[in-house]
């Protein structure tokens, strides 16, 4: 009677067997795993310390170009720091900021969405007005303003992004609660004397979990892009810390003389966001039993 739809359901196949059939989704999932491993194993994988200066080897191009050496596979920057090592280490900040923001917004958004969806009435109206106000702000400007208020730093950028993006989850959860509230199994639970909170905990929450989880990769991609953009503009992660966006931002003036400082960090960022989006789109269909039939088989 609880009406829970579990992830591996009607078609009888668990997710890992479904993904093998979709080569794009599989490739993107593997790429994401590789990026996470790269971030975790950065000290082992990176050939150099990312802050180590090699003043004799300033602005070396990648190994396969003229003047390049196999010592610095992707070249060096204006201070002779190894490009590849900096890209590898930057993945740590880029990934952890995105993960932290998604975790925070997921928790806050779910709580607020559940509360407003269940309580309705005035609480709900207040909440809608607040989310409207937050969402009316031009996204990047709001993040930049919060960073300008609190000063640069890892915590600040996480707070700034969370302030902007918690509304996505809150709205999705509220929408799901409102539609679930009218379903037979929730009504039945209430007719049998269960309280609203009981209905929420035991009947609604489990049904919300899998569509919410499916949103995570897409939100990760969006958050990474926002962090990279504000860091690029100088309102995000601050040196000496580095993120992919900041690497590209710092190399802006080298576009004509040392394009490798822009091409490769940007490519790492692009491929990671692309993978998150490809995997996320697949997961959203796979998590929804109604749409699963559309998956490539």
């Amino acid at each position: 009677m609880s009406g829970v739809v579990k992830l591996p359901s009607s078609s009888g196949l668990p997710l890992y067997r479904l993904i093998i059939r979709d080569k794009f989704a599989l490739a993107s999932a593997l790429f994401l795993v590789a990026i996470v491993l790269m971030a975790l194993l950065a000290p082992i994988l990176a050939p150099f310390d990312p802050t180590e200066l090699h003043l004799r080897d300033v602005l070396r191009p990648p190994a396969w170009q003229e003047r390049g050496t196999s010592l610095y596979l992707l070249g060096t920057d204006g201070l002779g720091r190894d490009n590849l090592s900096r890209i590898i280490y930057s993945s740590r900040i880029s990934l952890s900021v995105a993960l932290a923001v998604v975790a925070i917004t997921l928790v806050i958004g779910t709580l607020v969405g559940l509360m407003t969806g269940v309580l309705r009435g005035r609480v709900d109206q207040c909440f809608m007005a607040i989310t409207d106000a937050v969402m009316a702000f031009p996204g990047l400007l709001m993040i930049m303003a919060v960073v300008a208020v609190l000063g640069g730093g890892l915590t600040t950028i996480i707070i700034a992004l969370s302030v902007r993006y918690w509304t996505t989850y809150a709205r999705v959860v509220r929408g799901m609660v409102i539609s679930l509230r009218e379903t037979d199994f929730v009504l039945a639970a209430q007719v049998l004397g269960g309280s609203q909170w009981h209905a929420m905990r035991t009947h609604m929450l489990p049904n919300i979990v899998s569509p919410l989880a499916a949103l995570i990769p897409l939100e990760l991609g969006r958050t990474m892009l926002a962090e990279a953009s504000v860091s690029f503009l100088g309102f995000g992660v601050q040196p000496p810390m580095t993120s992919w966006g900041l690497l590209v931002g710092g190399a802006r003036d080298y576009i004509a003389s040392a394009p490798w400082l822009i091409i490769y960090p940007g490519m790492a960022l692009f491929l990671t966001i692309l993978s998150a989006n490809v995997f996320g789109s697949w997961l959203r269909l796979a998590a929804d039993p109604m749409h699963r039939g559309r998956l490539g088989t």
């Binding site: 794009f24 109206q125 207040c126 809608m128 007005a129 607040i130 409207d132 106000a133 937050v134 969402m135 009316a136 702000f137 031009p138 996204g139 990047l140 400007l141 709001m142 930049m144 303003a145 919060v146 300008a148 208020v149 991609g221 892009l225 990279a228 953009s229 690029f232 503009l233 100088g234 309102f235 966006g245 590209v248 931002g249 802006r252 576009i255 004509a256 394009p259 822009i262 091409i263 940007g266 490519m267 960022l269 692009f270 966001i273 692309l274 998150a276 989006n277 490809v278 789109s281 490539g296």
Partner: protein, 308 residues
């Protein structure tokens, strides 16, 4: 019933507006003391006091907020700290450049996005569909600042086809417009494709085929119109986003629009300008949302139930 919804929804928009204004006020007041940026470090306390007075920062917080609300009603938050111009005039000066850029980008996005979306939908899961889907996925995942710099490297530095940045000729418009169009091309193509696929399965298409019509005729005469509805909704959202995306693009290409104005104002804590830009951008979004909701309510009575 419709009137009741109208009153309810306009009321909520007003509450939203009030909340938004308070956020703008709070954020900009917390951003730091503009006085310390304007006067020399060893300036006398007297000079500081005068500057504070000139900027209207000498009153209590309540007085300042009253000033703020009065300014908001006029849509102007005073003179820019660095340029002796009203911030509203600065905004109005920058607006045409942003609108031009957004219009060209939107035209490119709609033309390319709809075309490749339609092409992909005609043979779902063919190699052509795979290529188009991959392109649109790549488009929505592409960091704007990265592709902007790559274009500068290839088109301006490498081939010398267009100027690297600035404004003045239509050649200056090429790169910023392309960069700004990439993301909407991706999302418009995706929506067009799925909407077309849904429509091609509809009964009226089967009937048209039974009458002996050829695919191009059916698509042109019947399907495109019906498939267009979600594309228009989606396109509206994306084009509103163009204005926001313009911050990064205008800064990189030094395009004299609202985005560059905002980004410069941020860097210099020119808070009257920040307030004006953010206030107007948020106001436009709130009004647009209101209009969208009202038009839905008018078209579909079920959405009016929210008032209960």
């Amino acid at each position: 019933m419709l009137l009741r919804y109208l009153v309810f929804r306009v009321g909520r928009a007003l509450v939203t507006l009030a909340l938004m204004s308070m956020m703008v006020f709070g954020l900009t007041r917390l951003m730091g003391d503009p006085v310390s940026l304007l006067v020399a470090i060893d300036a006398s306390e007297e000079l500081r006091e005068q500057t504070r007075e000139r900027l209207g920062l000498d009153g209590s917080l309540t007085e300042q907020f009253t000033d703020f609300v009065l300014s908001a009603l006029q849509g102007d938050f005073g003179n820019s700290i660095y340029r002796s111009m009203s911030s509203r005039d600065l905004l109005l000066d920058a607006l045409p450049a942003t609108l031009l850029l957004a219009a060209v980008a939107a035209a490119i996005a709609i033309l390319v996005g709809v075309s490749i979306g339609v092409v992909a939908s005609l043979k779902p899961r063919s190699w052509l569909d795979t290529v188009v889907s991959s392109i649109s996925m790549a488009g929505v995942s592409m960091p704007e600042f990265w592709i902007a710099l790559l274009l500068i490297f290839w088109l301006a530095v490498g081939l010398g086809l267009v100027p690297t940045s600035g404004s003045g000729t239509w050649l200056h418009l090429v790169m910023p417009a392309i960069v700004l169009a990439i993301r909407p091309i991706g999302s418009i193509a995706q929506v067009t494709r799925s909407s077309m696929i849904d429509q091609m399965r509809a009964d009226y298409v089967v009937t048209a085929y039974a009458k002996g019509l050829k695919t191009p005729t059916i698509v042109r005469r019947h399907v495109l119109k019906n498939a267009g509805i979600p594309v228009v909704t989606m396109g509206g959202v994306e084009i509103a986003d163009l204005m926001t995306g313009a911050i990064v693009v205008e800064t990189i290409f030094n395009w004299p629009g609202v985005g560059r104005l905002a980004s410069h104002a941020m860097q210099t804590i020119d808070y009257p300008v920040i307030q004006t830009v953010v206030f107007w951008a948020a106001l436009i979004t709130i009004v647009m949302n209101l209009l969208v909701d009202l038009s839905y309510a008018w078209l579909d009575p079920r959405t009016r139930q929210e008032t209960r």
